[in-house]
Symmetry: C2
Subunit: 286 residues, 2 copies
Amino acid sequence: MLYLVGLGLSDETDITVKGLEVVKKASRVYLEAYTSVLLVDQSVLESYYGRSIMIADREMVESNSEEILRSAQDEDVAFLVVGDPFGATTHTDLVLRARELSIPVRTVPNASILSGIGACGLQLYNFGQTVSMVFFTDAWKPSSFYDRIKENRSIGLHTLVLVDIKVKEPSLENMARGRKIYEPPRYMTVGQCAAQMLEIEDQRQEAVYSRNSLAIGAARVGGKTEKFVAGTLEELCSADEELGPPLHSLVLLGSRTHELERDFAHQFALDKDRWNKLWKTEYGKQ
Amino acid sequence: MLYLVGLGLSDETDITVKGLEVVKKASRVYLEAYTSVLLVDQSVLESYYGRSIMIADREMVESNSEEILRSAQDEDVAFLVVGDPFGATTHTDLVLRARELSIPVRTVPNASILSGIGACGLQLYNFGQTVSMVFFTDAWKPSSFYDRIKENRSIGLHTLVLVDIKVKEPSLENMARGRKIYEPPRYMTVGQCAAQMLEIEDQRQEAVYSRNSLAIGAARVGGKTEKFVAGTLEELCSADEELGPPLHSLVLLGSRTHELERDFAHQFALDKDRWNKLWKTEYGKQ
């Protein structure tokens, strides 16, 4: 049996009791460690589970899944995923490959950022599609997120923007030379995300949002040091210090807001007067 | 401290280790039991937690929250919620009332149907806003869900339809007479949901979807007996037997589908030839 076990969002105690039982009994335990990360190290998990864990990086999951699935017809393999197992496309793909090999699959769900973000006070019912933001380079500034946000905002919905993490990625130079030397991990901040959003708005000029659009920056959602900061996109460009360490994510508000959302999010506002003023003019319309 | 503890989707072992520690230590433990239910009884939870649990019905949460929040400034109160604590508006409201009383609040996230539904193989990134379907009566057939689905489908997105549950609701007659006598619990099925969707399409005739629109019926998501059935809305009107007992939910597909979604969902199709044929003509376009 292949078990896909969600680990939740923050530390070693966010695993479910059911998930922990699977981990303790499995023949092999893998940790998928490139689409997201916990706020604690691998060693903390290993000591808590009483098991050694093999790190499954992108290379292993995408090109060497036979190793993960080896003999899972007859023994139990636990594949641990930060958040919920179905948060990323790559896990669906692993399940499909298991199915081709007649390996039974069971999933142990857990909290995902897609629902955990509800802690910021915005109603999950009012979210449209989720988008991802990658680190821009001089030559590569993909802006398909802008079209998706445009769609969401055209019907008044909030957009959750998941920000890039780079864990064990080869630098372009090393990749070109075929060397497996990796860059240090990088985690995009809310400030970088907001700045890239404004850069694309400046470029495309379709008025999908502006410097004054309201948004909420989130850090370490689900953890003890969870932190939210609410403000305009411009304000969020320089709020990284208040948010603190990774992981970050950002929600751009839609206009279809409920007064309960206003009352809840207000406490997180960097500038409460400005927040209220902008809210009155542009939000709560539908 | 008020702790909002998510219980996940299925049974007593879906609580997180962190959540279980909170429950064991709290002075009082409430279970919110009207927006959703687990697949096991209260007595199973009580024996597993080693604690007695007070049921918090709608009346208590919405009109008598002082009792829940009593002395939570000085002691720990655990408020258990099926799924994730922020899945329903009513919990946000409880947090706001706690804040007014200067009661600190902490949330223990868990799996929600909003992410758990990913197990059907549709990518969570391709979902628009979530809608709710209530039991129609002869006099009351609210159709705002139809407008929301129209918005989602206009931009190619899937729609998760959460279906009604009626737990400890007074009958209209008893309510009118002020008697606190309750109807037996009722859980909407995928078949009832699909039929109500088609009834509104017949009434509104805006071609938001049709009898041939593809959808996936889901039952007991996250549980050991989890079951998915894929087909047209018309086929799903009579697939309740295959889906089995509650809880159910339904996903109406949007046209912006990925081939990975096709490959994954195909296995659940009631009529694989029809599924493939309809997929080719109307889906995977964007």
